[in-house]
């Protein structure tokens, strides 16, 4: 392969790259209005997916001996749904939504207090030899 051939190939590749870039730009422009409309959802979805990965990696690191406490903790923190319940009970218009909110706050609180407390009890029992 001589130098001219190589230069020709390089030029062709550069040309192709330019075309692709132009295509990509056109595609991006076409999608922009859709993306703008879906943006809040995409933003939430991004965070959701990243949180799934974080959860995946953190949970594989949990020692099998502590799988029961893991369930206790995840149980307690999944009652973070109480946040939605508090908003309903405290800010909603209409008695129905407030009552639903109140019931949800009560149910989730059982879980929050119960979940953390029972996990604490479990973890307090795990002792090393001689301690």
């Amino acid at each position: 392969m001589n130098a001219t051939e190589l230069a020709n190939q390089a030029q062709a590749t550069a040309q192709r790259a330019l075309e692709l870039a132009a295509q990509a730009r056109a595609a991006a422009e076409a999608v922009a209005p859709v993306a703008a409309a879906a943006e809040p959802f995409l933003y939430l979805l991004t965070i959701f997916l990243l949180a799934c990965f974080v959860g995946y990696h953190v949970v594989w690191n949990v020692t099998p001996a502590l799988h029961s406490p893991l369930m206790g903790v995840t149980n307690a923190i999944s009652s973070v749904i109480v946040v939605g319940a508090i908003l309903a009970a405290g800010t909603a218009d209409g008695a129905a939504a407030r009552i639903f909110g109140f019931i949800a706050v009560t149910l989730a609180s059982v879980n929050i207090f119960g979940g953390f407390m029972v996990t604490r009890r479990m973890l307090a029992m795990f002792k090393k030899k001689g301690s």
């Binding site: 959701f48 009652s79 879980n111």
Partner: protein, 468 residues
């Protein structure tokens, strides 16, 4: 409180929740992790209470709910016996599911408060998210109630199956899909409640065919569902903390279900379709094969004598130990043997007990140090140089047929290699088969000695013999 400040508080709470899970990588750091979780929850609740638009009546309502729920939760968590842990966790899952249903309902009746539209005119996308949160929450609720009833012995642990069951579930699933689509199209209140009712029914029907010993998978799966329900509600009301936490919990439950399934060498589909273990009665009846070698039975005194003279003993506890409440006396036995200079270790199979890690908690409660307790992969190579394997309340997880007999229902399941120990003591009430309905080959091995009787009583007799 400003929107930025509350978003920041939610971010801090999310990080604290991740640290709470991270802490569980080791018992030493786990207690601090749990405290992080509590702080995170406290921050989340406080930040929400200072949300703009909160009125006094609302704050009173919230504090009343927190006080009632908190009192009930605390009392229950303090009183519960550790053997009853699986049913407690199932009950707690049901509460998360129900809370999700009520939050979805509140968002449906007062969409303005969550910024998702006006009453009767909720954004289509929010309706999708709402119906998903609602359906998953409702399935989590009724499924967990059944899991609770089976675990607590309020209903039989045997699988409940009937003809066309899976077709019925499939049909109801499709119907649910149709309801959700029409709900999203119309935003009709009647459809909202029909989705709730159908999902309750579906959760109930999905769990009844699953047998008692498959409950570790079910409990883990419902744990996962409760997370997805929280995430679904998080999407509905556009709350990051709910989304992040829901994803963490959902991932955690999914991983635990996977680990449990792998521990039984069964696919999640196979577990969910249920019916496993229903044939155990028939298999047990055919147990008295004439061409089998005779079973050797021993007395607790024999076992005590042999164990006193052993150098290394590996104890294999199973659910039967929990049922008989034998963990305390088992630890006493271990203490006495340790005084004789015997090396004692405990081997835990991934699916021992009725929830992941259940045996570890029961042993910890009985003051067995956690560094004497080992997982399957760690301990299996050690059976070959153990003098005694002491099997108490476990069965299928020790059956060598899982390694050799391709026709066996448990073929391919990872098992504890107890048969490699010089002597195997096997405490059992009678000769009945285990959950899988498979006869345990181990009983007929020349190095196995059966100790017939209740796990607690037999171990007590061994302790008495050791004390003499």
């Amino acid at each position: 409180m400003g929107a930025t400040l509350s978003t920041l508080s939610y971010l801090v709470a999310s990080v604290l929740f991740i640290l709470a899970l991270r802490g569980l990588s080791h018992p030493e750091t786990s207690r601090r992790g749990n405290t992080f979780g509590m702080i995170g929850m406290g921050i989340a609740i406080l930040a929400t209470l200072f949300h703009h638009g909160m009125d006094l009546g609302g704050i009173v309502l919230v504090i009343a709910g927190l006080a009632i729920g908190g009192t009930v939760g605390t009392v229950v968590a303090r009183r519960i016996q550790m053997t009853a842990l699986p049913q407690l966790v199932a009950a707690f899952h049901s509460l998360v599911g129900m809370a999700a249903v009520f939050v979805a309902a509140a968002a449906f009746y007062a969409p303005e408060s969550f910024g998702i539209g006006t009453h009767g005119h909720i954004h289509g996308q929010s309706l999708v998210e709402m119906s998903l949160g609602l359906a998953i929450g409702a399935i989590t609720f009724s499924g967990s109630v059944i899991a609770f009833a089976k675990l607590a012995g309020r209903m039989s642990g045997a699988p409940i199956t009937f003809g066309g069951q899976h077709w019925l579930n499939l049909g109801l699933g499709l119907l649910l899909l149709v309801l959700i689509i029409s709900f999203v199209a119309t935003g009709n209140a009647a459809l909202f409640w029909m989705i709730a009712l159908l999902s309750f029914a579906l959760g109930f029907l999905l769990i009844i065919p699953i047998g008692g010993a498959d409950m570790p998978v079910v409990v883990s799966m419902l744990n996962s569902y409760s997370g997805w329900a929280a995430a679904g509600i998080g999407f509905t009301i556009g709350n990051l903390l709910l989304i992040i936490t829901g994803a963490l919990v959902g991932a955690s439950g999914a991983i635990l279900s996977y680990i449990m399934c792998k521990g039984m060498n069964r696919s999640i589909i196979n577990v969910l379709l249920g019916g496993f273990g229903s044939e155990s009665g028939a298999a047990a009846a055919g147990g008295g094969d004439a061409d089998r070698p005779p079973v050797k039975a021993g007395s607790p005194e024999d076992a005590a004598f042999m164990m006193k003279n052993a150098q290394k003993i590996i104890v294999v506890p199973g659910y039967g130990m929990a049922v008989a409440q034998a963990q305390q006396v088992l630890r006493e036995m271990g203490d006495l043997l340790k005084k004789e200079g015997v090396d004692i270790k405990y081997a835990i199979h991934p699916v021992a007990g009725r929830m992941p890690g259940h045996m570890n908690v029961l042993l910890a409660e009985a003051n067995v140090p956690y560094d004497e307790v080992f997982e399957l992969e760690e301990i299996n190579p050690e059976f070959a140089d153990a003098d005694v394997a002491f099997v108490i309340g476990a069965n299928d997880v020790t059956n060598p047929a899982a390694k050799t007999d391709k026709s066996s229902a448990i073929y391919g399941m990872p098992i504890l290699d107890v048969e490699r120990a010089k002597t195997v003591f096997f405490i059992k009430r009678g000769m009945a088969s285990g959950y899988a309905g498979v006869e345990n080959e181990l009983f007929f091995r020349p190095n196995t000695m059966m100790l017939f009787g209740d796990a607690k009583k037999v171990t007590q007799e061994i302790v008495q013999a050791l004390q003499r």
